[in-house]
Amino acid sequence: MIEVNGLTKRYGDVLAVHDLTFTVRPGHVTGFLGPNGAGKSTTLRMILGLHEPTSGSATVDGQPYRRRSAGLRHVGALLDADDVHGGRSAAAHLSALARSNGLPRRRVDEVLREVGLAGVARRRVGGFSLGMRQRLGIATALLGDPPVLLFDEPVNGLDPEGVRWVRGLFQRLAAEGRTVLVSSHLMSEMENTADRLVVIGRGELIADESVAEFAARGARTRVTVRTPDTAELASVLTLAGASVCPEGDDGLTVTGLSAARIGALAHERRIVLHELAPRTASLEEAFMELTADSADYRADYRADHQADYRAEARR
């Protein structure tokens, strides 16, 4: 179990993480989602005691992680596949880590076999591909057979077979009763893996719920309607409490009312409908919608800015 309580981290002027509170429970794969720069890695580093929080706390199984002397037995983590010395072999890298935690040497061979690197155990890590280094990082996380596992963007650089393998691994680890937290900036990665989600944007918590609950938010009845009389229908629907957005010449996108209710209202007012289509948003859309305001590096942000600038120049 990971408990994060009012966690805040400030680097100079930048507030990387702000008053974050959530709990990650055992027995589930929890997706940790947010756009680039949302503060995911910073949060994971604070959980691991690598960065000192400005305020708030993070505990693993009730204790601050910095108190542990043999960390691998409590938390296994893959933060960055490049956090290895390229001059050492995979076996030497893992041997040193295993020994530092008083783990038996056989664990090194076991985890290397588990991640499929047994054949290259004696090769220097510097010559590994990104996918191989990800596998080595996963081996490092598994080394101490820990009850809690953290993975920061573990799918980067893995081939499709590797992606499938890693998803199966996460689900197996959770099924064994472990706490598994997997970060990603892509919702699609989480769709088939996670059953719970913690979503953050600009260092603040956006959602902490099950995947089903999260998906339901995005599915908040969005309906496309086509009618020759858009102005009339729009005013009727707005009066009924919906928010309406024009789409093309004869279309409206309606949120806040069900398709049945829209149909009934149109019938009452004798407005002709050409199309009435409820749209279920995907998890991806739900994620985009929720994090739209908090994405730090969005492409259109710059475009908007330039448009403003041009408008100013014309004046």
Partner: protein
């Protein structure tokens, strides 16, 4: 879950073994220490053969002034030794920062002071062993050559054992001082440049002056006190020159400061 039956927490012995594995699993360690030691012995042989050949032509005054210890480990050889050992010490920290390994290390052993303690012990131990091999081997080789001219000394002669001890300590003292600099600067290139500047270049430029404050400042640098006191069988007693006691204190304080600096910096800083 697989039951791991070993002890629930890591012992310091395990951490020492882990640092030992880390040091020797880098090929550069064995190469640097092996080749470095051979070069030192080669330089001792070359310098001693030089003395052997010119000995008959030396005037009696020069023969009387001759210090056979400099044939074993000359100032230049010692400078190489300090640079090499200082860099090895510095890289054990700066190398972990440069590669990012430091995060993996501290994620595995969150109690950072234990990692630092193990690192200091392993580096100090390996460097003391290497330094002792170099001190004894260079002395042995130069004595074997110089004895042909009856120009050698015995280990029992005054000051010889002290000079040998200082030669052996030069490596661990430099390595731990380098480690402190590595922890402070983290960047590999900046660290190496600073190590060489502070441990060798600067103290080489120092000469005794009429300003006593300057002499006292100079006497705080290990390479300076080695050159002007500890490496000499009969160091001159002069207020402008470092004393034997003062020199040993400098030899003790630098590695201590290096280890403490490493501990404080690594414990406090985000990685």
């Amino acid at each position: 879950m697989i039951a791991l039956t070993a002890t629930p927490h890591a012992r310091l012995r395990d951490l020492l073994a882990a640092e030992w594995i880390k040091l020797w699993s880098l090929r550069s360690t064995a190469w640097l220490l092996g080749v470095g030691t051979l070069v030192m012995i080669g330089l001792a042989a070359q310098k001693s053969i030089d003395t052997y050949n010119s000995w008959p032509a030396f005037p009696p005054r020069e023969k009387a002034m001759h210090n056979p210890m400099t044939d074993a480990l000359s100032g230049l050889t010692a400078a190489f030794l300090v640079m090499g050992a200082g860099s090895v010490g510095a890289l054990t920290i700066a190398g972990e920062y440069a590669s990012g390994l430091i995060r993996t290390t501290f994620a595995a052993v969150p109690a950072r002071h234990r990692v630092v303690a193990a690192k200091v012990c392993v580096v100090a131990g390996v460097m003391l062993a290497t330094g002792t091999v170099i001190a004894v081997a260079t002395f042995g080789v130069s004595q074997a050559i110089l004895s042909g001219r009856d120009a050698g000394v015995s280990i029992g002669d005054p000051g010889v054992l002290r000079a040998l001890t200082a030669n052996a300590l030069l490596a661990p003292v430099s390595a731990l001082a380098g480690m402190g600099i590595g922890a402070l600067l983290r960047h590999t290139a900046a660290t190496i440049v600073t190590v060489i500047a502070v441990l060798v270049v600067l103290p080489t430029a120092f000469k005794p002056t009429v300003h006593q404050w300057a002499n006292e400042l100079y006497a705080l640098f290990p390479f300076y006190v080695w050159r002007n006191c500890l490496s000499l069988t009969h160091p001159r007693v002069d207020p402008a020159l470092p004393t034997v006691t003062g020199s040993w204190i400098v030899f003790a304080l630098w590695p201590l400061a290096g280890a403490l600096l490493t501990l404080i910096v690594l414990r406090r800083r985000d990685v």
